[in-house]
């Protein structure tokens, strides 16, 4: 009942926002903030929340007097989960709306689609989602986790005493770049840890895969071989619900075969009946259950903003929060919203993250932040069972793939390059300046 009422108000809010987004264009001398998240199509499920988060941050910032004495003005567009449309919309934001910064994208492909536009028009985008790495663009700041800020620690935990000293691994993922890369990295990492080939099972499924009977049955058989087994899931979005439901029904409990997921957060859980999932894991840089003053405050502001007491927060929201605050700080520091100035100003900027520590923007455009492992609770929350001591530096180019091990990213002189090959000393890829 409550949800419905809440969502109804949500609707009215949405409409009014849409209105403002247009009218506001008339307003003079504001700092325009582009919001490039899918509000329709398959990705709307995840991205709409981030759109609202940005709007909340902007509202908050304006209450505190805006930036450089100007008000912030959101420009919301809907790329409709259509990848070419992302490029088109990005261009529209930069050229037609002349926004000073863009917060947006979720899927890798949408980012890849926007990238050339950003680089051509020297735009600035903050990308708030965990991703496969292997990229560092001059015009993008990656505030989500790189593989070494999620996958690697997760494995370490599983192999640890507390994690149940797992010896056998199922790498289950949706068949696209993020899982492919992550699993490649994990594979070589596991082997470096002395896990045998036969103790690793890799399985890929299409997007939105809904019939998991066979695969879950296979996992069960794989797990019956005696050794302690765990599933590392990079299964994406919609496919998760049927996956977990099947796990529950085939009686695979977290104690027998724990599943640790990199794409399942509070938001996704809010769409699942979590009772059968208690004990399954997730690795993120933030959990709603994290205990800190800032987090409590953030949750309160969010729930009042979205007018829903039950509404959850999640890791990409924190990433957006950090990204936004860093940008704001950098703008203050640079005294302008001019992209190059902001970029130079933002390196080394630290802002509090929601888990109590601070996040630092490194010169490879990735963050330093802590990694947490949480166990799913029956209330749809995560119980934090493990966390890294201090922050982990986001690594754009993983050390566990032969080709990318040679490459580093550093946007300050002397390197000034997103993919600088230590071997050849050449900066390949981007071609500006």
């Amino acid at each position: 009942m409550k949800t419905i009422k809440a969502t109804l108000t949500g609707l009215s809010l949405a409409v009014s926002l849409a209105a403002t987004a247009n009218i506001a264009q008339a307003a003079e001398d504001t700092i325009k903030v582009g919001v490039l998240h899918s509000l329709s199509g398959t990705m709307a499920i995840s991205e709409t929340t981030l759109k609202d988060t940005v709007l909340m941050m902007i509202e908050k910032q304006n209450k505190e007097g805006g930036l450089l004495g100007k008000k912030l003005e959101p420009v919301v567009v809907d790329p409709a989960s259509n990848w070419p449309l992302f490029a088109e919309k990005a261009r529209e934001l930069l050229v037609k709306e002349e926004v000073d910064v863009i917060f947006g994208s979720w899927t890798s492909v949408s980012r890849k689609s926007v990238l050339p536009v950003l680089e051509e028009l020297n735009g600035l985008m903050f990308y708030p989602v965990q991703y496969e790495g292997e990229e560092s663009s001059k015009n993008v700041f990656y505030t989500g986790a790189a593989p070494n800020q999620q996958a690697i620690p997760a494995v370490d935990y599983l192999m640890s005493e507390a994690g149940g000293s797992v010896e056998r691994f199922v790498l289950a993922g949706t068949d696209y770049v993020y899982p492919r890369t992550t699993n490649k990295i994990l594979e070589s990492y596991l082997q470096s840890k002395g896990v045998a080939e036969k103790d690793i099972m890799i399985n890929y499924t299409p997007f939105g895969h809904s019939d998991w009977q066979t695969i879950v049955a296979d996992i069960k058989k794989f797990g019956n071989a005696g050794k302690k087994t765990a599933v590392i899931s990079t299964v994406n979005g919609d496919a998760n619900v049927p996956f977990y439901k099947e796990l529950g029904n085939q009686g695979i409990s977290a104690e027998d075969i724990p599943v640790i997921a990199f794409s399942v957060g509070e938001e996704e859980l809010s769409g699942i009946d979590t009772a059968p999932l208690v004990g399954h894991l997730a690795a993120w840089n933030y959990f709603m259950s994290a205990e800190s003053e800032v987090n409590d405050e953030f949750i309160d502001t969010w729930q009042t903003f979205i007018k829903d007491e039950e509404r959850v927060t999640n890791d990409p929201m924190e990433a957006t929060y950090i990204g936004f605050n860093m940008w704001a700080k950098a703008v203050e520091k640079a005294g302008s919203t001019e992209v190059d100035a902001v970029r130079d100003a933002i390196y080394g900027v630290t802002v509090p993250n929601l888990t109590g520590g601070t996040a630092v923007m490194n010169t490879n455009h990735h963050l330093t932040k802590p990694v947490l492992i949480g166990e799913i609770q029956d209330d749809g929350q995560f119980e934090i069972v493990w966390e890294t001591s201090g922050g982990v530096i986001g690594d754009a180019w993983t050390d566990f793939l032969p080709e990318s091990a040679k490459i580093i990213a550093d946007w300050t002189s002397p390197v000034k390059c997103g993919n600088y090959s230590l071997e050849t000393g050449v900066c390949s890829g981007q071609k500006y300046e």
């Binding site: 969502t7 329709s40 499920i45 890929y204 439901k245």
Partner: protein
């Protein structure tokens, strides 16, 4: 560690329990202590003879044991709207209302959960409840410490139930295979060959690796072969079951379309959204009656039928009515309608997926034996899809309404001249098709996401099924759905999910070449019309 517990239990089983209170700083230890320390505490609590500690252990396992941060007391808590009513574990004294952040759940991870459950379950070796005993014995299997062996032997005397005796026998055999005399080993090896329990295979493999006694090896290999054979046999059964259940999902999603598209010839792109409406109805019912989850599905079925059906009638009266004889236009219009419905749901219920709870009676699985178990919800869905299919067949064949529906769809002019109100009938037919889709939605809400994209995920498959089966032929739809389901499931194991799907599509394309009007096409002159 294990040894320690087992010993404790052994002692406890023999001696009368002697009272022993909880340490005062237990709360403090549990909260601040390391995971290893917690494990210590867990096993002592769970294996202690004292009732209170056992209760504490149980609560801890169920995640209902809290610590009041201020006083570090172990407490229970009950939610009273925003606040939590806290009572002391030991004294049961009421400690008043507190904010959520004032209390902390006693930390628990999978390792602890396992530890607590196994240890506690050992208490149940004597329990009158068969399943509890089974669980207890399961915990002893494959763990060959002398103590657990002693326990096994002990329960073997008392156990009456034959299944459980078999289970115990397996456990003992595992041990014998590992550490018995050669004769015992061979006997054990042969014995394990008849067991379906995974530990049997594990033990055999383990022994196979580190023995060089030829006789024993022979016995082991024979037993392994037997087990493998049985596994393959049950695997095939399981696969067929998977196929049927996938088929039943296809059938459910397609059957409504078999009417709106198959019978009426409306290329109904909004069909998926009708399914979606049904699923959302379930969600609404559950959120309105949170205390009657068990019944929610039964309440939802008629409601879903009404909601989707009514929407269907509305669509038919406002849009499709004007488009008869122009099937392609119906495609465009209904596609528009589907966009509108999706967005409507997105706006009303938020774009997030909604959580639909699976009632108790539909979760878990029916265990045939250790090698084969069928998940309950799938069984239910298969049965349900059959029921819907037959019901629909009945309505169309043996009811007046069904008769007039067929009359109108087959010869509109004739029907109307016979005094049938074609307009009404059209509306009813479309409503029926949509309603059925709604019902399907209720069932699918148990298997997959309930979200704005739900419909999109099923629409294409639905069309494939209907067309493959032969438009306008319900039996065709049925056979097509089940057939495709099973084919898909038998390809999947060796080709993988994606390739399986692709192959099925290619198969459909080629099949249509052979039978350009689907499986159950009408021959002869009828083709012309």
């Amino acid at each position: 560690m294990k040894v320690l517990q087992r010993l404790a239990v052994l002692v406890m089983l023999c001696l009368p329990s002697l009272a022993q209170a909880l340490p005062d700083d237990l709360g403090q230890q549990l909260l601040k202590g390391s995971w290893t320390e917690r494990e210590q505490l867990a096993s002592t609590l769970a294996s202690s003879p004292d009732a209170l500690s056992l209760k504490a252990a149980q609560l801890w396992l169920d995640g209902e044991l809290f610590v009041l941060k201020s006083s570090k007391q172990l407490v229970l808590s009950v939610k009273e709207d925003k606040r939590y009513r806290v009572t002391d574990l030991v004294s049961g004294a009421d400690l008043g209302l507190h904010k959520k952040r004032a209390i902390k759940k006693v930390p628990l991870n999978n390792k602890l959960r396992g530890l607590l459950r196994t240890t506690l379950s050992l208490q149940n070796l004597q329990s009158p409840n068969k399943d509890l005993r089974r669980e207890a014995i399961e915990n002893l299997l494959g763990d060959t410490s002398a103590e657990s062996l002693a326990l096994l032997n002990q329960v073997q005397q008392q156990e009456q139930n034959t299944d459980l005796q078999a289970l115990i026998a397996t456990g003992l055999a595992v041990d014998a295979l590992e550490s018995g005399t050669p004769q015992e080993q061979i006997k054990a090896a042969q014995q394990l060959g008849d067991s379906n329990h995974p530990v049997a295979a594990q033990a055999l493999l383990a022994q196979q690796a580190n023995t060089d006694d030829q006789a024993l090896l022979a016995a082991i290999n024979k037993s392994l072969a037997d087990i493998e054979q049985r596994r393959r046999f049950y695997g095939a059964i399981e696969n067929t079951f998977f196929g049927l259940s996938l088929g039943s999902v296809l059938l459910l999603s397609a059957i409504g379309l078999a009417i709106t598209f198959g019978v009426m010839g409306v290329i109904n792109m909004a069909h998926g959204e009708m399914i979606m409406l049904g699923a959302y109805t379930t969600f609404v019912v559950q959120s309105l009656l949170p205390d009657h989850i068990g019944a929610s599905l039964f309440i939802s079925l008629p409601l879903a039928f009404l909601v989707a059906g009514a929407t269907g009638v509305l669509i038919e009266r406002t849009v499709i009515r004007h488009l008869y004889g122009r099937p392609l236009e119906t495609l465009l219009a209904t596609f528009g309608v589907s966009l509108i419905l999706q967005q409507a749901v997105r706006s009303i219920f938020s774009p997030l997926n909604q959580s639909v709870i699976t009632p108790e009676w539909m979760s878990g699985s029916i265990v045939i034996n250790e090698m084969l178990s069928l998940t309950v919800n799938r069984v239910v869905v298969i049965g349900f899809s059959l029921a819907v299919f037959l019901g629909l067949l009945f309505v169309l064949k043996y009811t007046r309404a069904g008769l007039s529906m067929r009359a109108v769809t087959q010869n509109r002019a004739m029907a109307s001249s016979m005094g049938i109100r074609t307009g009404q009938v059209d509306a009813l037919t479309f409503g029926l098709g949509s309603g059925i889709a709604g019902i399907a939605g209720v069932a699918l809400s148990q298997l997959t996401n309930v979200g704005p994209n739900l419909g999109q995920n099923y629409i294409i498959d639905s069309f494939m099924v209907v067309v493959f089966g032969g438009v306008g032929n319900l039996w065709g739809t049925f056979v097509a759905a089940m057939g495709l389901g099973i084919v898909n499931k038998f390809i999947e194991p060796w080709a993988g999910a994606v390739i399986a799907k692709i192959l099925v599509l290619v198969f459909i394309i080629l099949f249509i070449q052979k039978r350009p009007r689907g499986l159950f096409a009408l021959k002869g002159r009828a083709i012309e019309s």
